[in-house]
């Protein structure tokens, strides 16, 4: 293995003069300025609330949803408390009740997630034995005007759907 000689800069007269380097830098910035001034579409930023990002990956952990059976649109959740147990932030509150159709023996009467407490770790999804809770809605910004708006109940969680931007394989 040969020795690589690293060129030292800053010793030549041109480097010590410092002004050519400044002129070079100023040329770069002004090129960017005029490129963007001529056509604002060249800017790398997007006008966020009107234009939404479309490049969110399928593995992005967004707001939760409760999955549903395809035949009668009832919840798959069997109220086993696995997600609430796994949750490091203690933000899942489940109230169980007996289920009388042949899907399962238990169902959640109420299923609440406090998203102000939630750390979006995805452990609930990992823990679920029935694939009943998922975080594939692609919702990355949830806004509300009061604290109660951030506690999603069973109805809200079941209303969420898989993001249309994600692939369906």
């Amino acid at each position: 293995m040969g020795i690589k000689v690293v060129q030292r800069h800053g010793k030549s007269f041109k480097d010590k003069l410092y002004l050519p380097a400044i002129a070079g830098g100023m040329k770069t910035t002004i090129t960017h300025f005029f490129k963007n001034l001529k056509d604002v579409d060249n800017l790398k930023t997007m006008h966020y609330p009107e234009v939404q990002p479309t490049d969110i990956t399928d593995r992005y952990r967004g707001v939760h949803r409760l999955t549903k059976w395809e035949d009668d649109n009832t919840e798959k959740c069997v109220a086993c408390y696995m997600c609430a147990t796994a949750c490091p932030a203690d933000c899942i509150f489940i109230e169980a009740q007996e289920r009388f159709d042949d899907k399962a023996e238990k169902r959640p009467k109420e299923f609440k997630i406090d998203l102000l407490e939630c750390v979006y770790c995805g452990y609930c999804v990992e823990a679920c034995p029935c694939d009943a809770i998922r975080m594939d809605t692609g919702i990355f910004s949830l806004t509300g005007t009061k604290r109660e708006d951030f506690v999603l109940d069973k109805k809200a969680l079941m209303a969420n759907e898989r993001s249309k931007d994600f692939s369906n394989d």
Partner: protein, 427 residues
Amino acid sequence: MNIETIIIIIVNISLAVFLAVGLTPVFVWWERRVSGFMQDRSGPNRCNIGPLRLGGLIQSFADMLKLVFKEDFTPAHIKYKFFFTLAPAIVFICSFLTFATIPFADNLVINGKEHMMQAIPNQLGIMWFLAFAGLSVYGIILGGYSSASKYGLLGSIRASAQVISYEAAMGLSIISILISYGSIHLADMVNAQTGTYLGVIPMWGIFIQPLAAIIFIVCAFAETNRAPFDIAEGESEIVAGYHTEYSAMRFGLFQVGEYSAMSASSAIIVTLFFGGYHLPWLDTATIQNNINIVIIALIVLLPIKVFVLTSWMKKNNKAIGENVSRLKETKILTIAFWGITVVIVSILALFLVTGLGTNGVNIATAVIQIGTFLAKFFLMAFVYIWVRWTVLRFRYDQLQMLGWKVLLPLALANIVITAIVVVVLGS
């Protein structure tokens, strides 16, 4: 004192106030948008009054309102509240007064009486600038010292050391300029910059004294405490330097002081080195003798400029998604710009038809020269912002090295060379 004198004094003073203080929101807006465009992002552009955003200009007014209405908080540990309050006022007043001797146009002759077109009509010129530019650092030192915090003190010590070292080189570079112009009065200096070399290059200070120009511009950057010489603020090292403990409008005064120092420096650089209020190749007498040609040129140029501006707006101020308020804004602004253009062009055409008379020609010349000065001034202010977002901050030892070991000897050598040339040529 007759009515013309009073009107001219009022116009001059309000022009100085507008350029020194009133332009702060505009420069803040430039700073944000220009830096954004240089870094391929858009900068603040949402703040609006109805459909009017003016490209984000409203944001700086909103910020100013916020500063005015914030609580004016004085930390409990500050012993000398009077000095703490006085410091931003010193910075502000000094940077503001620097503008007083900048000539906006050539001496205006009305009914045979000459009027100096500057806010305070005196002959002090460059000395006034040096005095007040140097004085404004007292406000920074006092602010940092009376803050009674380590960061504030560090910032003010840095500021004082920096200003002392660069004041020396700046003064010496000014001496060589004084030798070649032979006057300290700024209007005389500007009038010395008329004419051309070889009929092509305008005889501006930057071509007569290139070395002094570079030294002076570098020192003027250091004097205003802006990047690359903003070690007094140095937010990555000492929080915010001298204004760490300040909030609300006292901080706002520091901010306004910084921007008015910037405008004063760009005005003085334009005056000393870029021909001041003179259009290149056209001195005052030429404009006065050919006023009709100049007016015709303006009548032709103005609609072309407005056409370029409005078509740029139409291309770039588009609707975003469902939000069509920007289209409405474009429509309003296009109508406004064309309305103003039509009014100005018809007034100019009226002048062409009726003729102006001696006083009218003199006033028109003064207005054209003020316009020229403003154009150069805004360009120089843009260079300030451009440099700030290009060049990195100097380390403290590099800064002192540049000041004492490079700029000072160069300025001294420049004095000697200039003096020899002046003596040999006998001018």
